[in-house]
Subunit: 367 residues, 2 copies
Amino acid sequence: MESSNASRRVQALQAQLEPDSNTVCITFPGRNLQYLTGFYEAPSERHFLFFVPAGSAPIALVPELSAADFESAAPWVDDVRTWTDEAGPQDALSAVLEEIDPDRILLDDTMWARFTQDIRTHCPAATYGLASEVLTALRIRKDDTEIAALERAGAAADTAMNAIRSLGSDAIGMTEIELARRIETELVEAGGTGTAFETIVGSGPNGARPHHTSGDRTIRAGEPVVLDFGTRVDGYPSDQTRTIIFDGDPTDRVREVHDVVREAQAAAIDAIEPGVTAASIDRAGREVIEAAGYGDRFIHRTGHGVGLDVHEAPDIVAGNERKLEPGMVFSVEPGIYLPDDFGVRIEDLVVVTDGGAMRLNRTDRGL
Amino acid sequence: MESSNASRRVQALQAQLEPDSNTVCITFPGRNLQYLTGFYEAPSERHFLFFVPAGSAPIALVPELSAADFESAAPWVDDVRTWTDEAGPQDALSAVLEEIDPDRILLDDTMWARFTQDIRTHCPAATYGLASEVLTALRIRKDDTEIAALERAGAAADTAMNAIRSLGSDAIGMTEIELARRIETELVEAGGTGTAFETIVGSGPNGARPHHTSGDRTIRAGEPVVLDFGTRVDGYPSDQTRTIIFDGDPTDRVREVHDVVREAQAAAIDAIEPGVTAASIDRAGREVIEAAGYGDRFIHRTGHGVGLDVHEAPDIVAGNERKLEPGMVFSVEPGIYLPDDFGVRIEDLVVVTDGGAMRLNRTDRGL
């Protein structure tokens, strides 16, 4: 990310905080911090906090051993304070909070209790909220650079999905875990970096558990396999699902359920346009599944926003009256899950455009 | 994990909570929940909370789409309450907390602010602490099953490290990222599952940044490369670092610094025995580095505990007066970092035994 871009985002955040209020937004390693500064590392037990006060310059409190990496990523942050393992973080944290003396603190939504408990000890009189109260408004619409990265990530996932589908009968006899490793190799070869989330290979009855990852079960002919995986390109993730029969013939039931899910996905995507609600997209797909008699076996929301986080706003779920706007990106992933039998899910990412929706995944949606 | 084992751990936790107090310990997806129940999934935005009250049976609040997986992992949990995306989690959460009506709540140390804010809204009058206040005492000493898994993970990492070292001049010209991918392939071939943390390949000056991961820089002859990586076997991680010259000759300075770090690591490990403090182990290694004139370039603690979490208690750091006990497992990883020049770190995991320390890594510690 360009420096100017990151500091513009901090300014946009400050504008949300009302300059006269004594509010501070505190992020820690994760996607909010990456969005604001371009710096990413996995969260860990060391205090790494980025303070954006409403009316003054941001302050970074950084473990000494991450300081050089943070400073190269965000050279425009002038006030970087480091602490050593020997000294510990408490004195430095106390000094920053006394200086800012906030009335209200917005905590990074994924900040660990380890850190929020400390902040609360230092500021017992402040009121508390979540960073998403102000950051969602900024992050929910993706700019052209972000959409381009999401498109590249989607293309990498498509390349891998095509390679996996073309295994055909070679996949029979592989374990779910072996197939997952093969997927991950294909993702890297397609230009991706690592996995965006734990790769899901749900064969036969395991496909009926939406959050099943992968195990020792062997892929068999004639049974559907749910493949849900993603990688990152330029920091942005892909997320796509196909349900595939690698060899042999599906039962009529599998074919019927797969057709219903595919039709539901198409109906949900057709319903997308600026100004309609997130809930209405969920409804459009769910109606198809309900009409086919499987309403109670579609046990999750239709989709979730995707940006630096694989799961972010907007939720495509009943009750979410948020109106869609161009630049929003989310998954559309209806599914039907028949316990102890099989499951089917079909998922693509889409960008809301002026005219409707643009898919970021283009591979065959058939069995 | 065997069911009886997991429920024994819940009982041990309850014993820590004092049966008459109205305390509840609340964990969420992560290593504490895995320790208590055998169930693991990555933390996500859906409310997934496991309540262990001091004096009554545990209650699991689980998103419907994870229910089958949780119930197979922990069939001994009788009270599992699920919520759907359509209904949302708030009513179910409110019901559980009203039922328990806690005076004191111990929050999982890595629980997201998203969830802690919700719990605080439901229970504004309770006092709050961290789950580690009671769980560290249980987790810090590993039982034989845990140590056996850590040994297997260490052996897998050793196999991969030997394979990588044997690349020799073939590694010259690879980028850090390419070498990281190669390491990860070797880890899987050695029987590991995924990476335990982001693989670090720090070549030349990048080695001077302890938390540098890996980038596009090319490995060159004659320069040291810091390799810090781990995988998991049976749920438990490895964590090992070597600093290697793949081809060509090191400078005298590199050789000298490497000798100092190696000597410091040996001194720290020699100092380990039951009854001595964690701080004294840090001191033993640090003295060697200080005596060589590099005290200010050893910018982190000597080590960290390792169990289901790659970083857990005990911290091997100045000020930690905790006494070592048999069954504790931690890293010993002194380093010297010369900015813009190079870095050296050497790390092994050790188990405290009655007689001293047993190393879990046995590969060549030379350049």
